[in-house]
Amino acid sequence: MNALLFDDSDWSFSTIQRVHDEIEKIACGEMGLEIYPNQIEVITAEQMLDAYAATGMPIYYPHWSHGKRFVQHEMHYRKGMSGLAYEIVINSSPCISYVMEGNTMAMQTLVIAHAAFGHNHFFRNNYTFRDFTDPAGILDYLVFARNFIASCEDRHGVAAVENVLDAAHALMGQGVNSSPRRRRPDLKTEEARLRERRMHAEKIHNELWRTLPRGAAAPAKAPDETLVRKLLELPQENVLYFLEKNAPKLPSWQRELLRIVRLMAQYFYPQRLTKVMNEGTATFVHYTVLNKLHERGQISDGAFLEFLTSHTNVIMQPAFDSGHYGGLNPYALGFAMMRDLERACLAPDEEDRIWLPDIAGCGDPMGALRDIWANFRDESFVLQYLSPKVMRDFRLFNLLDDPGEPTLLVEAIHNERGYGRIRSGLARSYDLGHADPQIEVAAVDLAGDRRLIIHHKVQDGGLLAEKEARSVLRHIATLWGYDVRLQEVDASGRVLKEHNVSPPQ
């Protein structure tokens, strides 16, 4: 029998250290997790609110929208409408986890296992994070972004900077490359690169050139359409990138602001791709670790019960007709699937051999899970590994909402005929390409009035919310400097709706 790691609910730095080391033995030793070095920071409730406002980042550039989020969270917290998170974890190397000073020691144990090992392992190994983010450089880049934006505010005024940032924020959803580029962005060199570009511009600037006589104007030639499209990389789904590179009227500091917002959008993109997996992994890890600690007598029954209370709260899934329903809980679904996969590895039944053929009965659940954590995102994970048992446990069903029909149709339920359709239906709902509207820059009228033409590829007849779309278009027009036209186009190429916006004078 091992000695208890702690026996009262108050935490201290030495207990946290001891618990962390013990968890490390289990997580890295027995479960085979690979993590970035951990940095655990104890913060107060007020600091947690600050962190919320800055989307969890320790450093963030100033903007009114962060103040708005702060005001909202503060209000909710003060009114007691919502508690604060127990932790926030940042995809960086070293991996920073914030833990609240108000947590009991049992909670700190849960939080460390969950964030400092579960999320940490996922950040380090999942391919979306590896492809899209640069955890070693992110903090430096945030410092650079904050300083750069502050210097822009000094030089050009807060209002001018805010205008550009507002516009860029409106396009954050259209600021990611959904397939990774060959070269990973190395955020550390960003600042050096910017300085280099400026030096170069200064070096090649020569007042004398201005006085050179101009030659006779070359006869106007219609630009070669295919060449132009190739040069402009059209069609382009990353609207922010397109504007940063091609907007004719933007001064270079504004392009840099767009770049900052775009890189931040890209940094957060994997978190949207892997909500279920990320939380499922972390929940699975804390559950496994805490159970092992308890089995070995390292935490008391009381602490374990406290943990179970929090754990069951976290993985609660209200039914669709309950007042608490707010969509599928990623913690619940992710955890249930991970546990189910573990079961299928160890004690598969006939069904598992049909539905989960590659892992059923493999006998090495941790190996299988590590492989899955590294190589899937929500959409593909659900499509491949949502088993009939989980569908039955959640009593999932498909509901078709067709505006043309007077009633809703139950398409599939958790039975033999429905498993496949539920699986693919749920996977589709995690496909961001399907969930977000598909916007792309389609063309630029270079020979005419420089109008920018943007397409929305309408799926299933869902048009954009018009009022907000027009506000976003106004932002695009501000950046582009000329008229912008948004066409909502269906699969056959028919234009369903058109919005025209001119830049503000």
Binding site: F13, I16, H20, E24, Q39, I40, E41, I43, T44, Q47, D50, A53, A54, P62, S65, H66, G67, K68, V71, Q72, M75, K79, E101, A116, A170, L171, G173, A319, F320, D321, Y325, G326, L328, F394, R395, L396, F397, L399, L400, D401, D402, P403, P406, T407, L408, V410, I413, I422, G425, R428, S429, D436, I439, G462, L463, L464, A465, E468, A469, V472
Partner: protein, 421 residues
């Protein structure tokens, strides 16, 4: 693992962003504050607190689908449905579907906690005191000394070393004064040459050295023209101060309700004056058929009986103003609250006092006629005679419920009130 205690780091990291947000939301917050203030008492006005603003003016737009079109949802918790069932849209299933489709449209309004001073700022924004003049006050508030650049004369205690050295350096550089290191180097070279016995080089170097030394002597390290002193100026700032006369009829016809309204108005005026002037004094004058200066407690709470002679209060005010508040250093404001009654024989006297003595010395004279909530608005004697003053008439409003106090107050002190009053 690294374990860091961040709890002692400075808090309030989000405050600048919060300020930016408030600035952004200025107009809608201001409107919300106005709406909220209608329901508040004056004491609460000082307390800040929660205001609810609609999220419409401060949204962050992004592209999203309006109506979802043909959509498929996967939902948990099936209890009774079978494949192929058709559900009416109004059931739980439909509302669940609806809430899914409506994602991103959630926040309709949200609340902001304002501090007391923020709340007052918003409330009093764009209000202006009419005929605000910064009349000079006696020297008692004259502020001390203030930095006023540099001068070339002064006491040694005020020597500005940095500035002096900067000037000296500039002058030495401009006149090309040799550096001591140059001389030392040359001397060393000379010694070396002497040791070698190179007489020709020695002579050249001696000549050069002599030149350098002459220059050094001619161009001093610090010249009197370099010297600067910190200059200070006595800076008497004219401090505006105001006195506020509260006149109230306390005769039997004034009910508690009326007094309560009057009190609210007086307090509002006090809060407002207090923000505009460094010093505000308040004089309470109550009257029945005779007037008396009293303290605040008595003013609002004691009951008197008797007739109503407004002129007595006006005379008392004129007397106190002449005695204690000379016009050249005081801004005089007056607010009168009454139910409008006056003894018939007193009207002429009141009006001549007002026209000839009170209005000329006042920056602003506001007359609030208070009434019972269900009282029908009719011309009261006092209202009629004040109105007869024509262009000179004081700012007059009639108030019968608490809710009207704030709008009436705002109305009286609108930034452009000057023109109309």
């Amino acid at each position: 693992m690294q374990l860091i205690d961040k709890r002692l780091n400075p808090a309030g990291k989000s405050l600048p962003n919060r300020q930016r947000f408030l600035r952004r939301a200025r107009s809608i917050v201001r409107k919300a504050v106005r709406d909220a203030s209608v329901e508040r008492g004056i004491r609460e006005l000082d307390g800040g607190g929660i205001v609810v603003v609609p999220a419409s003016g401060i949204e962050e737009p992004h592209f999203h689908r309006g109506q979802a079109g043909r959509a498929q949802h996967v939902l948990p918790g099936n209890k009774e449905f079978l494949e192929g069932d058709r559900l009416p849209r109004s059931t739980g299933g439909a509302s669940a579907g609806g809430s899914l489709a409506g994602q991103g449209e959630g926040e309709d309004q949200f609340s902001i906690v304002l501090s007391a001073s923020e709340f007052l700022d918003f409330f009093l924004e764009d209000l202006e005191l009419p005929r605000l003049e910064r009349r000079k006050l006696a020297a008692m508030k004259a502020d001390g000394v203030r930095r006023a650049g540099y001068s070339s004369t002064g006491s040694p205690a005020n020597l500005a070393v940095l500035r002096t050295m900067r000037n000296a350096l500039a002058r030495r550089t401009a006149l090309n004064r040799p550096r001591s290191s140059e001389i030392i180097e040359l001397e060393a070279a000379l010694d070396a040459a002497q040791a070698r016995g190179d007489e020709q080089a020695c002579a050249a170097m001696r000549l050069q050295l002599e030149g350098l030394r002459t220059r050094t002597r001619a161009i001093p390290y610090i010249d009197p023209i370099d010297i600067r002193f910190r200059r200070f100026e006595v800076n008497p700032r004219p401090v505006a101060q105001a006195v506020m006369f509260c006149l109230m009829d306390v005769s039997g016809s004034m009910t508690e309700h009326m007094k309560d309204i009057a009190k609210r108005f007086f307090m509002l005026l006090y809060v407002f004056l207090n923000r505009r002037y460094e010093q505000v004094e308040v004089v309470f004058i109550r009257h029945t058929d005779e007037a008396k200066e009293v303290d605040e407690e008595t003013f609002f709470h004691s009951r008197e009986t008797g007739g109503t002679r407004v002129s007595t209060a006006l005379a008392e005010m004129a007397r106190i103003a002449a005695e204690r508040y000379p016009l050249d250093s005081w801004n005089i404001y007056a607010a009168q609250a009454s139910d409008g009654d006056n003894e018939r024989g007193d009207n002429m006297q009141a009006i001549s006092l007002l026209r000839d003595e009170i209005l000329p010395i006042c920056q602003y004279f506001a007359y609030i006629e208070v009434a019972e909530p269900d009282h029908e608005a009719s011309m009261s004697p006092l209202w009629k005679i004040y109105e007869n003053l024509g262009d000179d008439q004081p700012a007059m409003r009639r108030v019968s419920t608490r809710q009207e106090i704030f709008p009436v107050f705002r109305d009286l002190f609108r930034a452009d009130a000057e023109a109309s009053s």
